[in-house]
Symmetry: C2
Subunit: 343 residues, 2 copies
């Protein structure tokens, strides 16, 4: 059941061939399981249906099997696993397809013991502990010599790629630097070399001054719709002060981030009118120390449109909702959710 890493000989694009994952009960069904609390494997009380926890969180800190609020488990149908040997090299310069075993981590972060199906319906403490789990799991994996990147991501709703409805996020830690992260790093380096400044810091300044695409701000964080948004209602969330590593956040910063992210998810759902969305954390690779040119951030977007042949063929997205139109709507909705929750 081990998976395999393959590079496309032309583009160097890496894919994970993971035969075992087609055994997932819901795979290919394009629908999430609607389960009651009694049969949901992610609900408290049903821990035996899932592998043993890698970590569990309660208000006071570590938790047991009966008082956890956030629980981290290995993915039962992993795309990558430590059972495989670390790849020796994954060259993409040649045809002579370089193949590696699917070495890496694939974990599930269950974000509530209750049968809740959306991040926006988490308690504040659950939200905070979820973010803490993201950080801690990145810290656990970053020192493994053969791992290069940790991708935290959330798939919500069937159209968002989720196969289980109970609210959860995932971590996949890879032995290669993913293409999209690599493209961002290259862009950041290029800009830094000619301007001696982080491009995301520049962007934050410009968006703040322009005030057309901004959605929300707290002391430490800012959210706006990006200038070249791929998706309707796409939102980026960044630390206002330069920081390249999500895993370097302390508990105080996470406590501030939690209600902001939750209100942005709520706004995303309200604006799109449905519950399918993704968010993902882009952070510096494991093997770089804190850098001046990269800036960690969260990308969040609802899944309103199905992409098709044009997007797959070109990498170019067609977005029918300009970010300047999306931002005022998201701003109002995020604010009203925030007020309701904190009043």
């Amino acid at each position: 059941m081990n998976s395999e890493l393959r590079s496309d000989p032309v583009t160097g694009r890496t894919v994970i061939i993971a035969r075992g994952r087609s055994e997932r009960p819901q795979d290919f069904a394009r629908a999430t399981t609607i389960r009651s609390h009694a049969t949901c494997p992610f609900c408290r009380g049903n821990e035996r249906e899932t592998p043993q926890a890698l970590a569990a969180y309660a208000v006071g800190g570590a938790a047991g099997e009966d008082d956890w609020l956030v629980r981290v488990i290995p993915n039962k149908y992993p795309a990558l696993s430590f059972d495989a040997a670390p790849p020796t090299s994954l060259s993409d310069a040649e045809y002579a397809p370089t193949t590696g075993a699917g070495y890496g981590a694939h974990e599930v972060i269950i974000e509530s013991p209750r049968h809740v199906t959306c991040f926006s319906r988490l308690d504040l403490v659950e939200t905070q502990l979820a973010l803490r789990a993201y950080r801690d799991r990145l810290l656990v994996h970053r020192d493994k010599k053969s791992l290069r990147y940790g991708q935290i991501f959330k798939n919500n709703g069937a159209d968002g790629g989720a196969t289980i409805g109970h609210v959860h996020s995932q971590l996949i830690a890879t032995p290669f630097l993913p293409r999209e992260v690599s493209a961002e790093l290259a862009g950041c380096r290029r800009y830094f070399e000619s301007h001696d400044r982080c491009i995301y810091c520049e962007m934050i300044d410009r968006e703040t001054t322009l005030a057309q695409r901004t959605i929300a701000e707290t002391e430490r964080f800012i959210a706006f719709c990006p200038f070249a948004a791929r998706f309707p209602y796409e939102t980026w969330l960044l630390p206002r002060r330069h920081a390249s590593q999500f895993h370097a956040l302390d508990d105080i910063a996470l406590a501030e981030l939690a209600p902001l992210l939750r209100s942005l998810v709520a706004a995303t759902i309200a604006a799109s009118g449905q519950d399918a969305y993704n968010f993902l954390i882009h952070t510096a690779p494991f093997d770089t120390s804190a850098t001046d040119h990269y800036h960690w951030h969260i990308e969040l977007f609802p899944r309103m449109l199905e992409v098709g042949g044009f997007e797959w063929g070109t990498g170019c997205h067609i977005n029918p909702v300009p970010p300047e139109d999306a931002a005022p709507q998201l701003r109002t909705m995020a604010q009203s959710f925030w007020d309701r929750k904190t009043s």
Copy 2:
């Protein structure tokens, strides 16, 4: 209603912001319209519901509004249009977001006058004329000075990104070289420089020798599952003899390609068990003459899995069906369809 081209300041990724497209009746519905022949705008007899034809094909050649078999019309909700001014430059090296008007073509190729909802259900002559229309429309646009690429693509089924059920393909001709095409070209150039050979020609030799991932062959064409397939049952279709430009194909070659492509689509549907799929043609950019290093090809894949945060965040796909498992199934299914249709 003009659209706008925007480059992401970090990655240079181009997006098309096309406000007008959210007025499409089915947009955001994630479902194709189920229409009867009487109300379908793409059926023969209902030509008044669509813009005037740019081209129409019958068996003998050009056709009128009442005897066409394949009909090309402008997209009513275009992502790009010639009403806009050609962009002067679309630099992506700087933050200082470079923006251009949405100059280009967006056309719909209606592939049958009958209310057929899948490419595999076309008559042979319709299939041939559809391919001829793809070629001719590329030829029409390639000499426009400000256009750089023509992307022919098909979205079939709601999960494939289609909003209208009646069988059709599309062409979007862009004033920029799309990211994915650019990545392929770079890979081809790199390989050619060190091996003095086209990498796709090399691939065809290796796949033929290995005979593990091949699906079908004719005198001029070959189809196989690519080594690093992103999607379950992904298929590539290529000319066996080196050729960089799809638009250079003559009618004889198109007549040979038509039944092969049709049988591959039928096999894709049979293997995936549903009707959502995409195919797209990757061909040399408009501004290059025939080259030794690039090789045109068709990429075809069913839409069985919803991609999620991991794929969007990393550009890395997780494919649960190894191409070595997919190919024998597709081979049998394509062969049996072929036999049924030609017996």
